[in-house]
């Protein structure tokens, strides 16, 4: 056995365990009866501790060293060793007691957050969140020292390997300069148009589900290797060859669940398209959070809110719910699906105003991690940032800095990946349509094969073979910038062809 084959066999076992954890996590969110929560928590803790001890196994360091010196390895194998080393460096940078302290602080803070959000009580959350922040800083510092990164970049690196805040600053400043004026312009133009009626419900859950399944099949989801279920918070999870997405249904409004399903299907297609030969190995995993989000947003925003797709889908929506009348015409549905509004809540935001929510959070978390701002000042800074970026100020912390679970649950450094994903989606979709002239006509007739085969070849099947920048450059001819995303927004929402 070579060191590489030892390494690879070890990570096959890690994958066997990760896949079990993935299905149990899905079960916890989609199937588990309430009374089993404590029992399940014990199982998950046991499996996660086992997982952690496997990926920090002392033998891994020696195997990596020997594999790095092995010049018989091909490019996939070399990239696999690189990815294994990347994770191993991070995981072994943290002392076990710090990991445990953080895990406990997060559990307490999440509980405190649920109550604090309910009661809009930021002061009540403050001590818990301070502790989480303190430990995040400490973990970021420990990882940063090992990796030669700033504290924030070390945290970001967990979600976006190779991501750097200097680069994100430039991209987000570019967008932040463009969006407030553009948003005002779009809102004015939309206000000038006569109001459009929305289809009236109720829309039975069974019919919504059937329509969702139909559309998942249209875009290419493989039900032999996945499922659609219901959960409070929609997600894409599961295991290798077993990709499970969830949604939630509102019988008064079918449009959210349908786009939610298409969004998660975008994530799922990435998972279902990962390289078969390396599906269990680190090099076979999705490249990064921004690339993952690019796949969901490409499907939802670029492909399925397009005029072409809505024209295809409108009669199917009518048929699913027995609808009739002007509200069910493609034009009316398209306007419904591309309505822009200044809101307080990130998850309800449209694609024009969404980046403002993200840029705000990114700037704040960076300042907080760097200790350049006190956590007690967060509500004030939030209001100020919302005013500047979106032109609205939330009337309460519940609708402001208490809305997201990310910070209480220790997800610092995650937020920027949403908007990096939106920009990546625009750039990839643009490249796909230029590479294959049948992508948009295909979508118009419900044939996603031209789009999907481009994504399979250029993104999905690459796994983590390339670094994010390389991946994007190979696929689109250049690294990420804000231009294509801005052009997309202008084309869809500007005063051009879309708005008659």
């Amino acid at each position: 056995m070579s060191a590489y084959s030892d390494l690879s066999a070890h990570f096959d076992r890690v994958a066997a365990l990760s896949n079990a954890i993935g299905i149990l996590q899905w079960d916890s969110d989609a199937m588990m009866p309430k009374g089993a929560a404590d029992t399940r928590a014990e199982s998950m803790a046991f499996l996660r501790v086992t997982h952690h001890s496997m990926i920090t196994d002392a033998r891994i360091g020696d195997w990596i060293a020997a594999a790095e010196a092995d010049n018989t390895l091909d490019s996939w194998e070399r990239a696999n060793v690189r990815e294994i080393a990347r994770h191993f460096d991070v995981e072994t940078a943290l002392p076990a007691d710090l990991v445990e302290a953080s895990s406990k602080a997060v559990s307490k803070c999440e509980m405190a957050w649920r109550r604090a959000r309910e009661e809009s009580d930021f002061a009540g959350l403050l001590p818990y969140l301070s502790e989480v922040l303190r430990l995040q800083r400490e973990m970021g510092r420990a990882k940063g020292e090992k990796l030669g990164l700033s504290t924030y970049d070390a945290l970001l690196n967990d979600y976006e390997p190779g991501g750097r805040s200097e680069r994100i600053d430039a991209l987000f400043d570019d967008l932040a300069g463009f969006l407030p004026g553009f948003t005002a312009e779009v809102l004015e133009a939309q206000a000038r148009r006569p109001a459009v009626a929305a289809p009236e419900g109720p829309f039975p859950v069974e019919a919504q589900r059937a329509l969702g399944v139909e559309m998942m099949k249209v875009v290419g989801f493989d039900f032999e290797r996945g499922r659609l279920d219901v959960s409070t918070h929609p997600f894409c999870g599961g295991a290798d060859h077993d990709v499970r997405i969830t949604t939630r249904y509102d019988e008064a409004d079918f449009t959210k669940a349908l786009m939610g399903v298409l969004h998660e299907t975008g994530h799922a297609l990435y998972e279902q398209g990962r390289p078969k030969d390396y599906i269990a190995q680190p090099v076979g995993q999705a490249r990064s959070m921004s690339v993952h989000e690019s796949q969901s947003l490409l499907m939802e925003m670029q492909a399925c809110r397009s005029r072409e797709f809505i024209a295809f889908a409108a009669p199917r929506m009518r048929h699913a719910f027995g609808g009739a009348g002007a509200a069910w015409e493609a034009d009316a549905l398209e306007r419904l699906y591309t309505k822009v509004e200044r809101g307080f809540i990130r998850v309800d935001a449209d694609e024009v105003t969404y980046p403002a929510h993200v840029i705000l959070r990114y700037r704040l978390e960076k300042a907080l991690i760097a200790d350049a701002m006190s956590l007690a000042d967060l509500p004030g800074a939030w209001a100020e940032g919302m005013k500047e970026l979106l032109g609205v100020v939330p009337p309460s912390d519940r609708l402001g800095c208490l809305q997201d679970i990310h910070w209480p649950s220790g997800g610092w450094g995650y937020f920027p990946t949403y908007t990096l994903g939106a920009m990546t989606a625009a750039q990839l979709f643009d490249a796909a349509t230029r590479a294959n002239g049948d992508v948009l006509p295909g979508i118009a007739r419900g044939d996603f094969r031209p789009l999907l085969s481009w994504l399979r070849a250029n993104v999905h099947s690459k796994g983590s073979l390339l670094e994010t920048d390389e991946l994007l450059t190979e696929a689109t001819g250049r690294p990420l910038d804000a231009e294509v995303f801005k052009a997309h927004l202008k084309r869809r929402y500007g005063t051009g062809a879309t708005l008659q």
Copy 2:
């Protein structure tokens, strides 16, 4: 930390893992998309190997020795040590290579069996089944040497701790002497009665499911700690505080799924009633397979095929399916639910003929394990036994010795627990009705609390505190015999009050 607390903490971790395995097994059977089978097999193998290494951990032997000498332990703790020692002795009796060889032989044999059953090709199965049998013998011998048991009793002991074939021989001989004549008598009496019409379908799956859920609630299933789903082969599984049963629906006949659900609910009530303080420990587990089967059969056969329950359920069945007419009257439904027939297939058998199927299998497997009969002679011996015990001879091996998966899958020593369970069910139900005069009137009005509280107190909450004989003696005043079961059959099927 005392040795006992080390032991108990260790088995809490084992339970965390077992519970994960339980949910994943449920998922494999009820949820998993086909394409995930290989991935799931990897996960299950990994978790099972981990589980095996934990329950054979070398430290356990020392902890047991120290805990056995600890006179501060209470009766539950002492029983827990006894149960842990029981499992440890068995698990460590087997050399790892024998376990692995058996596991591989079983996998191959199960595959061969699926094909062989389809094609009624016993000769094609013979080499695979011979290998499984050879390894079962070897494992039984290894365990038997350690435990001072015969080879067959050592195998039986895995399912029925403390069970002995000498005792089963006597019980089954008693039944075998009674049943052929009794069955003939019942069939004659039933033939003399005018035919009864069955309700006509279709019976939509959703309505069947709703009726099943309604009846599960009536008998006391806790949906906060369990679920009802669909699978090809109905079972009761899941985890502590998370008991999941399954059924399958036939739109042409609702009666099977309903009784199937009530049967699995009987198993589930046992699981949901295990002692909370010891739910994760060996002493908190169900006592044995015969006691488990007694709980499903008590619910299905004793309680829910009773005249009292059917009178309560009949209007609810009518309501569920919008039925009307003579076929939906309680009398007609009762006759449907207590129809006796001589059939070839065990799983389709009624409660009068079922024991014959089991006694046949028990006698044959005992002879095969003892090498007192050649496996090649199985089809002939099967036909002979069916003739003697049931008066019918299957026209093919598919309807004969190829029908069950137990032997191909290495479940030798399991079969007798079905009929031990039926006898135990009769004895327990009889004791419950004598202890509380409201048990049967309660069932007649859909109030199962009198029955359930007796079962909780006398069976469920005991876990494995007592040996099976002690449990039954404490609950019913005597160890198991065939008398109460025979009396039950005579009362329900004989020429007395039930058959007008």
